[in-house]
């Protein structure tokens, strides 16, 4: 195929650096049950996250979400299918491969997220570059930032993610990019 080379694709991708999406609202408010499932996943039985009665008498007056939970709950979520595509910064980056691995994750937590909060998020592409990994010598590395805001337009958290996007071994072979 006479498609663009990884380097040409990178050149296009780098034009998106700094571009920020519109705020994407969450479909539903923060609810008890997704927090409960999140805690169940890691065996966390902290009543601050699960017990409305306990939380009512504790510091925040109501159940709050565990740290980093917001990543799972904000945005439109995995179901139902969206009638229109939600723009993401990384989604606009065209790259040779479409296999993703998330590497570094950073959070800054500024405000508690409570049950009932309505969270929206915006995304920004911070950086994109090529760096080999074992699986693909032309792996795209993407650095994204997500800013989470509540219903009062307060920033409650920011997240910075470094993600690699690589080709399958078959695709690497087909492209003639022998492993480095």
């Amino acid at each position: 195929m006479a498609t663009n080379t990884p380097e040409e694709m990178l050149q296009e991708a780098r034009k998106l650096i700094g571009w920020e999406t519109e705020p994407v609202p969450s479909r539903y408010p923060v609810e008890y049950d997704p927090i409960r499932r999140y805690c169940h996943m890691v065996g966390d039985d902290n009543p601050l996250f699960m017990d409305p009665e306990h939380a009512a008498n504790a510091r925040y007056g109501s159940v709050i979400a565990p740290p980093f939970f917001i990543r799972q709950t904000s945005g439109p979520g995995p179901w139902p299918p969206r009638s229109q595509e939600i723009p993401t910064a990384s989604g606009r980056v065209l790259s040779p491969g479409d296999r993703n691995i998330v590497l570094n994750t950073e959070f800054e937590l500024l405000k508690p997220v409570k049950v009932g909060d309505r969270i929206s998020q915006t995304q920004r592409l911070v950086d994109v570059y090529i760096k080999p990994i074992r699986l693909d010598p032309k792996t795209f590395w993407l650095v994204n930032e997500t800013i989470f805001r509540n219903q009062d337009d307060e920033v409650v958290a920011t997240m910075r993610n470094t993600m690699v996007r690589h080709r399958t071994p078959e695709q690497v072979k087909a492209a003639g990019d022998a492993e480095a």
Binding site: R27, Y28, E31, Y32, D33, R36, R37, C39, M50, W79
Partner: protein
């Protein structure tokens, strides 16, 4: 072991027929997200279950739960661990095996269940008998009702379940109850 025979155990078990468990409240009200996950499980994109804006325009006025959803959501749920055990009827009914397979399920639906509803339930043992399955010639077939009520005390749904409780092949062998090998 000089344990009781399955038939002895059945006699004990049948004493529970008609007995009702105490009422168990759900930990949380019915919420959007568990409904969304339930729909996702079966690729259901019905906006009545998923879209608050759409649901507001229907005769229900708000998002309702899909039929049978309640079974997954009522009660204290799988997490966190309970500090006190809530005695369900089934847990009290003895049987030789503790492996279960759910067989028949029947629902009778009386009222819509909406986001925000607080659902409680109780159980009632209806019948219990021995019937062979391939894995265990002395399987206990257990029929029980679960009665669901909302915050106004209205019965919204009744579920009748037939559950087969069987032993593992090892337990069957240890008890000397070889499953029938020839075709019956």
């Amino acid at each position: 072991m000089a344990d009781k025979t399955p038939e002895d155990i059945l006699e004990d078990a049948r004493k529970f027929i008609g007995i009702e468990s105490q009422t168990v409240a759900s930990r949380y009200a019915v919420e959007y997200d568990p409904i969304r996950r339930y729909c996702h499980m079966v690729d259901d994109d019905n906006p009545l279950f998923l879209d608050p804006e759409y649901a507001a325009t229907t005769e229900f006025g708000s998002v309702v739960a899909p039929p049978f959803f309640i079974r997954q959501t009522a009660g204290p749920g799988p997490w966190p661990p309970r500090t006190e055990e809530v005695p369900g009827v089934l847990a009290q009914v003895p049987s030789p095996g503790d492996r279960t397979i759910n067989l028949n399920t029947e629902f009778e639906c009386y009222k819509p269940i909406k986001v925000g509803d607080r659902i409680s339930h109780k159980q009632r043992l209806v019948d219990i008998y021995i019937k062979a399955i391939r894995l265990d010639p002395k399987s206990f077939w257990t029929v029980y009702d679960t009665i669901y009520t909302n915050q106004d005390g209205e019965v919204v749904l009744v579920m009748r379940n037939t559950l087969c409780r069987h032993r593992t092949p090892e337990e069957v062998k240890a008890a000397g109850d070889a499953p029938e090998t020839s075709s019956s």
